[in-house]
Symmetry: C2
Subunit: 185 residues, 2 copies
């Protein structure tokens, strides 16, 4: 199941990313304190993170190469919202591209921020249910492994070092709570 | 309880952050696909996120101004590890600076990554117990509100729009699972 890591042929280091805008804020707090803060504004159309449910108890994870940590990471389907797309449409497209499934039921649950003290990025959490097989070509360099995981076994998943992303951990627990309390109503 | 938001006197926009290094990776996947990936490498000494337990059931949250989303956010004590500090020492210092408590018991639970596909940043989750009152001066512009929250009421907390950070949501659920399964042993 484990794939060899990609070979790094070269690493080039730049001072700063010319494609990314940084904002400097001149702030005055209510106690009169004045400070300069820096922040990275959100990307144009936002992003989605998707919890696809194969049945009432089983979520689908993906395993994807992560350049930031240079290892294959377990996580959830994610991606940017394209111009003109709703969050639900973006979630369904990414689900087809990354996991080979479409969903007949898509529910926006809430927004999850990345590092709100210095980044504007927010990701919309979408619950995807009533799945059917359909694959769309994406921009991934290789087809991703898809891994079913029972929501009542999250205490085992969180012991995995390569299941590390805060948003993915948060999203699975949020969906588990949501399903419990929505069912209880 | 809600404080007025700081006044934004001015916003200056830069193309890229000269203080932040970006790496460009020339990658070859095991199927022969060759791609250029960009990533932001991790900060020098890493960072900690702290779940302080006032008693066996009650975690302490803080409310802090977040420039990224320009609102007061509920979240956890966090901060960078200084040169020469262990994660436990950094957690205890940040806890004293941000919440006005020290801890006699500090336990590293796991690493949480931010956005591993394009960022190297990882935060070490530290559980802090056996608290005592002690405040250290920090670099915050104002004293932060501290809010106790029962771990069996996380399903209510996650409905709060201003409790949005993926790492903070993940950290509270991770601690709740850890305490449940550690107690069961």
């Amino acid at each position: 199941m484990t794939r060899p890591l990609p070979i790094i042929h070269e690493v080039r280091r730049h001072q700063g990313d010319p494609h990314r805008v940084v904002e400097e804020l001149d702030l005055e707090f209510s106690n009169g304190e004045r400070r300069l803060y820096h922040r990275a504004p959100a990307s144009e159309h936002g992003a989605v993170i998707v919890v696809p449910m194969l049945d009432d108890e089983t979520a689908l994870l993906i395993r994807e190469y992560a350049a930031g940590t240079h290892r294959y990471e377990l996580g959830l389907v994610k991606g940017k919202i394209d111009a003109g797309e709703t969050p639900e449409e973006a979630a369904n497209r990414e689900l087809k591209e990354e996991a080979g499934y479409g969903a007949r039921s898509l529910t926006v649950l809430r927004r999850i921020s990345l590092a709100p003290t210095y980044m504007g990025h927010e990701t919309i959490l979408v619950l995807a249910r009533d799945l059917y097989e359909e694959r769309l070509p994406g921009d991934e360099p290789e087809q991703l492994d898809v891994l079913p995981w029972k929501l009542d076994a999250l205490h085992e998943l969180i012991l995995a070092e390569d299941f590390s992303e805060g948003r993915s951990i948060a999203a699975l627990f949020l969906v588990r709570e949501w399903l419990r309390y929505a069912d209880a109503k």
